[in-house]
Amino acid sequence: MLRYILKRFLTAVPTLFVIVTISFFLMRVAPGGPFNQEKGLNPVIKANLERVYHLDQPLWKQYLLYLWNLLHGDFGPSYNLPDFTVAELFAQGLPVSMQLGGSALVLALLIGGCLGIIAALYQNHTADYAVIATATAGSTIPTFVIAPLFQLFFALTLKWFPVGGWGDGAFINKVGPVLTLMLPQLAVVARLMRGSMIESLRSHHIRTARALGLSDYAIIIRHALRGALLPIISYGGPAAAALVTGSIIVETIFSIPGVGRYFVEAALNRDYTLVMGTVVVIAIFTILFNLIVDVLYAVVDPRVRYD
C-alpha cells in the first residue's frame, strides 16, 4: 500500500506539470494584461511595472521562470493586490474556505448518508418519497438562489443569523454558508446512497446474513452499508476537492474572506500569478482527494488490491 501511495505521488508530478503548462499558455493567449485596466497608465510606468514582474521577457522565459519559482514553492506576487504575495493570500483565505467546505462535506456525507439509508429501507413508502423530493429539490435549486433566499428568511425576516460576514469565524456566521454549500452535496449523497443501498440489500451475502439470524442493525451497518459505500466514496473525492477550495457564489453572497472569490476576479483582471496559484492549489487538492478515494476503496472493499 505504501508503495502504491508513493507511486501515485510520483505520477502526480507530470499531471501537475501538464495542468500548469496548459493553464499558463491559455492564460497568456487571452488578450489583455494585468496592467491594461487602469485608464491612462503612463507608458513608462507600465513598462517599468512589466519589467519588475518580468512580463517584458519572451513568453518561454517567463514560463521557465514561473516553473523554477514554483519548484521552490514561490507562487509569486499578486499583480492586482500588490501588497500580498499569492502565497499570503492563500495562507489567509484557504483556512476559511477549508473550514466551511470541510464542515459542509462532513455534514452532507452524514446527513445525506442517513437519509439515503432510510429511503432505501423504506423503499416506496412516505419516508422514501420525502427523501427523494428533498434530494431533487436540493440538486436542482442553484446555490445562487438558495443563498439569497436563506438571507431573506433567516437573516432579514427571522433575524436568527447575520446576513453575511465572517465575524472572525463565529459559529453563527458559518451557519448560512455551510448550509448552502451542504445542500446540493447532501442531495446527491442521499440519492447515491439510496440507490447503492437498495442494490446492496438485494445481494446474496445480505440474504445469507438474514438467514443466519443476524440483527437488523448488524446487517445494515456492518454488511449492507459497507458494500454501498463505494459510489459515495468515488463521488466524495472530487466533491471534497471542489468544496475545500471555496465557492465563489457562497463567498460573494455571504461576504466570506475565502479563496473562492480569487479565481474569477483574477482571471478577469489577468492577475496571472494568482490564477496560476489557484489552478495549482485546486489541482493539488484534486489529486490528493483522488488518492484518498483510491485508498479508501481498498479499505472498504477487500477485493480491491493495489499490489
Partner: protein, 372 residues
C-alpha cells in the same frame, strides 16, 4: 436471407414505441413535459401579449411591488404630480382626480409657457396633457391629463421595467441557450466519443488522454477563458459553454460504443456478413441514442445553471437583454427592499429545472429497462 425480414408474422414493438409507452405511464414525467411546453410557449409568445416592452423604463414606477390591480395607486398620483410640476419649475396649487382624468392647477411668478404640458406627459403616470384654462395674465394655469393605467403583475425592477415581460424574455434566452449549447455539447461529444470508441487502439488512447487532461483543468477557468476570448457575444457564448460540456458526453458515448461493439448481436451480424455501415446504422446508433437522449435532457438544465452562473458573475448575457441568471443576481442584490425581484425569476428557473430533471429521469426509466 432477405426473405426472413419480409415476413413480419407479428408486428414487433420498436424500441421507441416501447419507450414511449413507458414514458406515458410515468405521471411525473408527463406533467413535466406539459409544463415545459407551457413554459416554452409563454416565454416565446408571452412578451408579445404583455402590455410592456422588456426595455421600457417607467421612471415613476421604480421597484413597485407586484399587484393585480392597476397602477398608479392613489397615493402615488400625488407624488407624480409633485415631481412633474417640480421639473417644470412652477408652483403646484392643487390637483383633483375625476373619472380617470386629472386636473392640475399651477401658478408661477412669471407667465407660464404652455409647452410645460410636456413635463406632465413625460411622467409615466400621465398622458395627453393639455391646457384647460389659462387666465389672461398667464401666471396661473389649469392643466388636464389622462391618468395612464398600468398593470405590473410581477412588479417592476430597479430601473422601473416590467418584471413579467423581463422574466419571459429572460426565459427565451435561458431556454434557447440551454437547448443550443446542449446540442453543441452533444454533437461534439457524440462525434468525438464515437470516433474514439470505433477506431479504438492507439487513437482511442490518445483521444481519451486529451479528455482526461481537459477534465483536470478547473472547469470555470476554462469557461472564463472562452468568455474572455469571444468577448461577451451572445451566440459565441452558447458555443463556448457547449464546447466545455462535451467531455462527459464523449466519455459516455465512447464507453457505450466500445461495449456495444463487443456484444453478441454485433458479432452475429458480422458473421452474417452485414456491412460495417449496416451494423453502425442498425445496431450501434439505436443503442447509443438512448444514453445520448437521457444525457441531453440532463445536460440542458446543467447548461441553464451554468449560463445563469456566468450571468450572475456578469460574464453572460448583457443588459438590456436578460436571462434568468441576470434577473436572479439583480434580485439577490435587492432582497431587503424588493424581494419579488428574486422570487419570480427564481421560481421560473427552479420549476423549469425541476421539470427537466423529471423528464430526464422518466426518459432514463423508459429507455433503459435494465436500470430499474
Amino acid at each position: 436471407m432477405t426473405d426472413v425480414a419480409q415476413h413480419p408474422a407479428q408486428q414487433g414493438r420498436s424500441l421507441w414505441a416501447d419507450a414511449w409507452g413507458r414514458l406515458r405511464a410515468n405521471r411525473a414525467a408527463m406533467i413535466s413535459i406539459y409544463y415545459l411546453i407551457f413554459m416554452a410557449v409563454i416565454c416565446i409568445a408571452g412578451p408579445w401579449f404583455t402590455p410592456h416592452a422588456f426595455n421600457t423604463i417607467y421612471q415613476d414606477y421604480n421597484r413597485v411591488p407586484p399587484s393585480l390591480s392597476a397602477y398608479p395607486k392613489p397615493e402615488m398620483i400625488d407624488q407624480a404630480v409633485k415631481d412633474a410640476v417640480k421639473r417644470a419649475r412652477v408652483e403646484l396649487d392643487g390637483w383633483k382626480e375625476e373619472g380617470g382624468k386629472i386636473l392640475i392647477t399651477v401658478s408661477s411668478a412669471k407667465p407660464i409657457d404652455e409647452r410645460m404640458t410636456r413635463y406632465i406627459d413625460r411622467s409615466s403616470v400621465f398622458e395627453n396633457a393639455a391646457v384647460v384654462d389659462k387666465p389672461a395674465d398667464g401666471l396661473r394655469m389649469t392643466l388636464g391629463a389622462d391618468i395612464e393605467r398600468q398593470h405590473f403583475f410581477f412588479g417592476t425592477d430597479t430601473s422601473g421595467r416590467d418584471l413579467l415581460t423581463r422574466t419571459l424574455i429572460a426565459g427565451r434566452v435561458s431556454l434557447s441557450i440551454g437547448l443550443l449549447a446542449g446540442l453543441v455539447a452533444v454533437v461534439i461529444g457524440v462525434l468525438y466519443g464515437a470516433t474514439a470508441g470505433f477506431i479504438g487502439g492507439k487513437t482511442d488512447e490518445v483521444m481519451m488522454r486529451i479528455v482526461d487532461v481537459l477534465y483536470s483543468l478547473p472547469f470555470i477557468f476554462f469557461v472564463i477563458m472562452l468568455v474572455v476570448f469571444f468577448g461577451r457575444n451572445f451566440v459565441l457564448m452558447f458555443l463556448a459553454v457547449g464546447a466545455v460540456l462535451w467531455l462527459d458526453m464523449a466519455r459516455i458515448v465512447r464507453g457505450q460504443a466500445l461495449s456495444i461493439r463487443r456484444q453478441e448481436y454485433v458479432q452475429a451480424a458480422e458473421a452474417l456478413g452485414v456491412t460495417r455501415t449496416g451494423i453502425l446504422l442498425r445496431h450501434i446508433v439505436p443503442n447509443l441514442l438512448g444514453p445520448v437522449v437521457i444525457y441531453m435532457t440532463l445536460l440542458v438544465p446543467q447548461v441553464i445553471i451554468l449560463e445563469s452562473f456566468l450571468s450572475y458573475l456578469g460574464l453572460g448575457v448583457q443588459e438590456p437583454m436578460s436571462s434568468w441568471g441576470v434577473l436572479i443576481s439583480q434580485g439577490a442584490k435587492n432582497i431587503p427592499s424588493a424581494n419579488w425581484l428574486l422570487f419570480f425569476p427564481s421560481f421560473f428557473l427552479t420549476s423549469t429545472l425541476f421539470a427537466l430533471n423529471f423528464v430526464g429521469d422518466g426518459l432514463r426509466d423508459a429507455l433503459d429497462p435494465k436500470d430499474r
